[in-house]
């Protein structure tokens, strides 16, 4: 069947089998191997992408189900060499070691910040709940939580065009 999905703002059309999973549809698109294919059982969260702005597990979604929807992957975060605040936060707070879970963590964090934009400061519980669908075997999560908080605190300054403030660690 012919499937047409908007991935990172660009229309991607391909002839696929109905059983193709979204994670493979994305990864078989040139340049889009950032989305990781992990446990294949919707437990680990490495494959999380945004569908119409909401995080979903792409290993447990058929590509066919995404026809006509907007998918956003980790490749969309950096624009013209400028990192997204969540990427910068992961850099500042050393929130990754092997990096396998990172694409899913970044997209889950991006959705959390979008959803909570303009609201009161994120609590640690909110952050930990939001990322509870992702498994990280390296960091113990502490630095990931810290990175997401960093991103939340610096988002306004970074997106308004000024450079990221220097951070003492």
């Amino acid at each position: 069947m012919e499937v047409s999905i908007t991935v990172n703002g660009e229309q991607v059309s391909r002839e696929i089998e109905p059983r193709q999973l979204l994670v493979h549809f994305i990864r078989e698109t040139p340049g889009l191997t950032g989305t990781h294919w992990g446990c294949d059982t919707s437990n680990c969260g490495a494959c999380v992408v945004l569908m119409d702005g909401k995080p979903i597990k792409s290993c447990t979604t058929l590509a066919a189900m995404c026809e006509g929807h907007e998918i956003r992957t980790v490749e969309s975060l950096e624009v013209d060499g400028r990192l997204d605040p969540v990427q910068q936060g992961f850099h500042e707070r050393h929130a990754l070691q092997c990096g396998f879970c990172t694409p899913g963590m970044l997209m889950t964090s991006r959705a959390l910040l979008d959803e909570r934009a303009g609201g009161p400061p994120l609590t640690e519980l909110e952050i930990r709940t939001a990322i509870s669908g992702g498994i990280c075997r390296c960091t113990g999560y502490k630095n990931i939580v810290s990175a997401i908080r960093w991103a939340a605190e610096h988002e306004a300054a970074m997106t308004s065009g000024s450079s990221a403030p220097k951070e003492e660690v």
Binding site: R19, S42, T60, L62
Partner: protein, 294 residues
């Protein structure tokens, strides 16, 4: 790599169309909504439907609303996602056990896709919403080509992974009768965040003038199907709520469940846990009914 076996895919544009397709395609057709139960089953070849009918565009099945007296109900469309059940103010007001359960069903990312209809139709004994719906006396609306049936949860779940939804039919709605004096709670113990329950208990009580006029209790994960604790419900009816009464109900829960030993624990542990969780759920449900929750 885990990939489902081949199937034909079609996207429904109306409820009538989906039912017509189910009718035409027969026993080898399945509905897919969130897909978080069905796709893992298909990857493992525990299910190999030849046709999938995608109902994600049927937004008319995604709602939570209250109907008017004389028989007020909350009606939940089958395509309502877990995230919306968790955040519903209407459910929080009338049936807070939904939020108790939804906070611990899988994880927030899965809850963005999974639906109440999918959870109930999966009919997994360890699934939380089946116990929730049984405890509060929910009814399932099953629609076929020319007819609609309304069945109680006891008649909806026929066995492990088996429901009353027949060929050419689909679950469209869940109805929760509203009666005054209600309080409800869901208690679950799991090995780690997002896991299936080791055991879970759903309880609802209706209290009038210091007396329990009706009760509903159901257990997840401690039997081949959801366990409806009718004997414990009978014990509570007409009694004043008390710690002793709830302890007795807990003892009945331990006796009337039928857990199996597995990686989540041995049988005696699960029986004990079912009793403790039943007691806790009743205590919290009662506190809520009396507006005394700490």
């Amino acid at each position: 790599m885990q990939t489902p076996a081949s199937f034909d895919y079609e996207r429904a544009t109306s409820v009538e169309g989906a039912i017509a397709s189910l009718h035409r395609l027969g026993s080898e057709a399945r509905i897919i909504a969130g897909g978080h139960s069905l796709l893992p089953m298909m990857k493992l070849r525990l299910a190999s439907p030849e046709h999938l009918i995608d109902i994600n565009d049927l937004t008319e099945l995604a709602f939570i609303r209250e109907t008017d007296p004389p028989a007020p109900e909350i009606r939940i469309g089958a395509l309502t996602r877990h995230v919306d059940l968790l955040r519903s103010e209407l459910l929080a007001e009338h049936f807070p056990l939904f939020a108790d359960a939804e906070q611990v069903i899988a994880d927030p990312v899965v809850r963005n896709r999974g639906t109440i209809g999918g959870s109930l139709c999966q009919a997994d004994a360890a699934e939380d919403l089946s116990a929730v719906c049984t405890a509060i006396g929910a009814k399932a609306v099953i629609r076929g080509t020319d007819s609609e049936r309304v069945v109680a949860m006891d008649d909806f779940h026929l066995g492990p992974y088996m429901t009353a939804v027949g060929e050419g039919e689909m679950l469209t709605e869940v109805r929760l009768p509203l009666r005054p004096g209600a309080g409800s709670a869901h208690e679950k113990v799991e090995r780690r965040a997002g896991d299936w329950a080791i055991a879970a208990a759903s309880a609802a009580v209706w209290i009038d003038g210091g007396t329990i006029t009706a009760a509903g209790i159901a257990l997840s994960a401690v039997g081949l199907t959801t366990i409806h604790l009718t004997r414990a419900q009978e014990l509570l009816r007409g009694q004043a709520p008390s710690a002793e009464l709830f302890a007795q109900a807990g003892e009945i829960a331990s006796e009337d469940c039928s857990p199996g030993a597995d990686g989540r624990g041995p049988i005696d542990y699960k029986r004990h846990l079912a009793g403790v969780l039943t007691k806790r759920a009743l205590r919290r449900a009662t506190a809520r009914a009396l507006h005394q929750e700490a």
